[in-house]
């Protein structure tokens, strides 16, 4: 039993924290949030590529850093803490994972080196509008090497070079790679509650599409990608939640009311203790997920769902009560509380909401027998 990151991983974390403290400051996040013409911080993205983060889990033969899933979790936590305004989750947790899981050698060779270098951005397009996106609901059509239909919202769809698209050919639900700069693709930005992350509506009209993975396995591969992304995103969420707790604790120590720090009132102390507990429970579940991810453990799906549910709850809770702890200040545009509040909600929807993941968690557990072994 060793429930902790290694010394090298702690070094990686320190390095990431130092870099992001310097380069992904609230001012950098706000620049993206407040400027409609700036969908992400391109310089930060390039520097992250140079650090080897974007190609972290890409094998060395494809120009990546060949790190483990656990290493990437360490980086993800820091990205979440610093709210880094980049397409990291779309390109790394989703598009890269999809190529690694289902891509042919040619597809990997085509995309991964450029992606690892930060020169090409990928995204993953599933949702087709309000309501649950699942194997039954997808309407997007695929035929004769082309796709037709609309995906909305697609995280980073406006800046990505290509998309992994879930579409239906006859009765088969499959994944396709689509060049977003090619013919038949039109896209426009859509605003979300968190404009520090960009999103798009993408309409495909006979856009050239190349199958990714076996025909008919689109939903299974999507689930596998979502499981892995859920664990990585859980680390972002834990990082963000911890940042909220740190902010609120610091403020509570220094803001005085009724002649004493507000952090000496139990209503505030206990509120912060409750956040701490939620963050620790989420962290524990996420750590287990990191291990399951790197070890490709048989209970990966259970671990992913547990990590996602715990992290979504913890981050939303922490972000909400961080504003409350700051009083009127917390409700202003100037204070940073709302940056986390926005991101917390967005992340908890990105791979499907809490209801969906709770359902998935219980479905996974139903396949196990609780009296003893799995």
């Amino acid at each position: 039993m060793n429930f902790d990151f290694s010394e090298e991983q702690y070094l990686l974390r320190d390095q990431a924290r130092k870099f992001l403290d310097d380069r992904s400051t609230p001012a950098v996040v706000r620049a993206v949030l407040e400027d409609d013409e700036k969908p992400y911080d391109a310089e930060l993205w390039q520097e992250m590529a140079e650090l080897g983060w974007i190609g972290a889990i890409v094998p060395e033969e494809y120009g990546g850093a060949g790190m483990t899933g656990e290493d990437l979790c360490v980086i993800a936590e820091e990205l979440g803490r610093s709210l880094a305004p980049t397409p990291f989750s779309s390109s790394v947790y989703m598009a890269t994972e999809a190529l690694l899981l289902a891509g042919s050698d040619a597809q990997k060779g085509d995309h991964l080196p450029a992606m690892a270098a930060g020169e090409r951005i990928g995204c993953f397009a599933v949702s087709e509008g309000v309501g649950v996106a699942n194997a039954d609901s997808i309407k997007m059509r695929a035929s004769d090497g082309a796709v037709d239909g609309t995906k909305i919202p697609v995280a980073d769809g406006d800046i990505a070079d290509f998309a992994v698209v879930l579409a239906r050919a006859g009765s088969d639900l499959s994944l396709y790679l689509v060049d977003l700069t090619g013919e038949g693709v039109s896209r426009k930005s859509v605003e979300t509650v968190d404009p520090s992350r960009s999103h798009a509506e993408i309409t495909f009209e006979k856009a050239a599409a190349e199958p990714l993975g076996a025909a008919g396995e689109g939903w299974e591969i999507t689930q596998a990608v979502f499981d892995r992304a859920a664990i990585l995103m859980a680390f972002e969420q834990v990082g963000g939640a911890q940042a909220c707790l740190d902010m609120a604790t610091e403020y509570a120590k220094n803001r005085f009311a009724f002649g004493r720090p507000i952090g000496s009132f139990q209503a505030i102390k206990h509120k912060l203790a409750n956040i701490y507990i939620d963050v620790e429970l989420a962290r524990a579940n996420a750590y287990y997920g990191a291990w399951a991810l790197a070890a490709d453990a048989p209970d990966l799906s259970t671990a992913a769902a547990a990590a996602r549910v715990a992290a979504s709850e913890a981050y939303n809770h922490a972000a909400r009560e961080n504003i409350q702890t700051h009083g009127g200040m917390g409700f202003t545009w100037e204070f940073d509380c709302h940056l986390y509040y926005r991101r917390a909600k967005l992340l908890s929807l990105a791979l499907g909401g809490e209801r969906r993941w709770k359902d998935r968690l219980i479905s996974q557990l139903e396949t196990r027998n609780f009296t003893g072994e799995e």
Partner: protein, 409 residues
């Protein structure tokens, strides 16, 4: 990171499993141990179980051999506790003995006393109780008033304790008293151990919500304790009490049911309007919340194990676990009963799922949120010791004890 056992851990786990399989009945869905807390048959059965473990080399796993322990590690102790949860074993009658009395004796008693008491306790021969809380000293333990006055080589004790679990069957006790009422409250305390059969002790059971009487009032009238049974210096009782409280079992093998596994099974077994309860969305959401908490607590213990195996001190893990688990138990009890609908309130074990486990837990769970650090006290501990928030403003720290304000309750 590695959640698999190391070869040594795996070897010990296999040994523990084999021994448990040969000596205890495995848990099964809906099955509970034959005696509940409060049933008199439980005490001899619990003693018998301790003796078996002692003879099998699984009592005092992390304690030195010279005191009857196994001479193993705390990690092994936790592994055994983990394995024990898969079996039907007695509720933790010995948790005060092992988790509080033994570590305190090992820290403060004389060599002769250690030899006399520690092995006997590990063998199940001696059960200890904890004479700490008083009507005027619960969360605020240092508000206690039981007086100790020195007379030559003896101390004379007068006063009243309350909520003393197991006083009615305990053989021995640990006791905190006030030896100097003129000193500030934390500075005038002195700590002892004693034989519960000593003259001058009167035990009156208290009937609790569940109807059982697991705890008691204990009156001490001119009770005499030899000075040789003092633990720590005169006036140092608070420090000794802290040692006792810090040593609460790193992990007890027994989590009071019902927990996630129980309610999960119940929702599979019970039918609602549209099929099994587990198919209902509202039910699934609740189950998911409890799973991540139960799993989180389990994993936080794994982190504790990692820290211990590196020789680090335990952090706030126990406070988190206790707070989260005792609240969850109460919620699960309520929810399980809701699922049983109009019949949910019935107590007859022969008519109810899991022999009325949920109904009993409803009436027992409130105590779990008060005993051994209430929810509020634990949140204070977390916010002050972990987050570094200011302590509550206090008016009682510097004044002499006998000048402190007291309420009417």
């Amino acid at each position: 990171m590695d959640f698999n056992d190391t070869p040594e851990e795996a070897e010990f786990r296999a040994e523990a499993r084999a021994w448990l399989a040969a000596n205890a009945e495995p848990k099964a869905p809906g099955k509970v141990y034959k005696y509940r807390r409060g049933e008199p048959e439980l005490i001899p059965a619990a003693r018998e179980w301790e003796r078996k473990k002692f003879e099998g080399g699984f009592s005092g796993i992390a304690l030195p051999k010279e005191y009857g322990g196994r001479g193993g590690t705390r990690l092994q102790q936790i592994i055994f506790a983990e394995e024990e949860t898969n079996y039907l074993i007695p509720p933790p009658i010995f948790s005060i003995s092992h988790g509080m009395a033994v570590p305190t004796m090992l820290t403060y008693a004389t060599e002769e006393q250690k030899q006399r008491f520690v092995p006997a306790t590990l063998r199940g021969d001696e059960i200890w109780c904890q004479l700490f809380s008083e009507p005027a000293g619960g969360s605020d333990l240092a508000g206690l008033r039981t007086r100790s006055v020195r007379e030559g080589d003896e101390w004379v004790i007068n006063g009243q304790k309350i909520w003393t679990s197991g006083a009615h069957y305990a053989d021995m006790a640990i006791l905190v008293t006030r030896s100097d009422p003129d000193a500030p409250k934390h500075k005038g305390l002195t700590y002892f151990f004693l034989d519960m059969k000593s003259p001058g002790i009167e035990i009156r059971p208290i009937k609790q919500v569940s109807g059982f009487s697991n705890f008691n009032e204990v009156f001490m009238t001119d009770l005499r304790i030899p000075d040789s049974q003092r633990l720590g210096d005169v006036g140092q009782g608070w420090q000794v009490a802290i040692t006792t409280l810090m040593n609460e079992r790193v992990s007890s093998g027994v989590r009071p049911a019902p927990d996630f596994e129980d309610i999960f099974q119940l929702t599979k077994d019970l039918e609602l309007e549209d099929g099994p309860a587990i198919a209902d969305t509202a039910v699934r959401e609740k189950l998911a919340d409890w799973y991540i908490k139960a799993q989180g607590v389990k994993l936080i213990r794994a982190r504790l194990v990692t820290a211990l195996s590196r020789g680090e001190r335990p952090g706030p893990e126990n406070s988190i676990s206790k707070l989260v688990s005792s609240f969850r138990r109460q919620e699960i009890a309520h929810f399980g009963m809701d699922l049983m609908d109009m019949a949910g309130g019935m107590m007859d074990p022969d008519k109810m799922p899991s022999r009325a486990l949920y109904q009993q837990a409803l009436l027992d769970a409130p105590g779990g949120r008060i005993a051994a650090g209430s929810d509020e006290i634990l949140r204070n501990i977390i916010s002050e010791r972990v987050l570094g928030l200011p302590p509550d403003i206090r008016v009682d720290k510097e004044l002499p004890f006998n000048q402190l304000p007291t309420g009417s309750e």
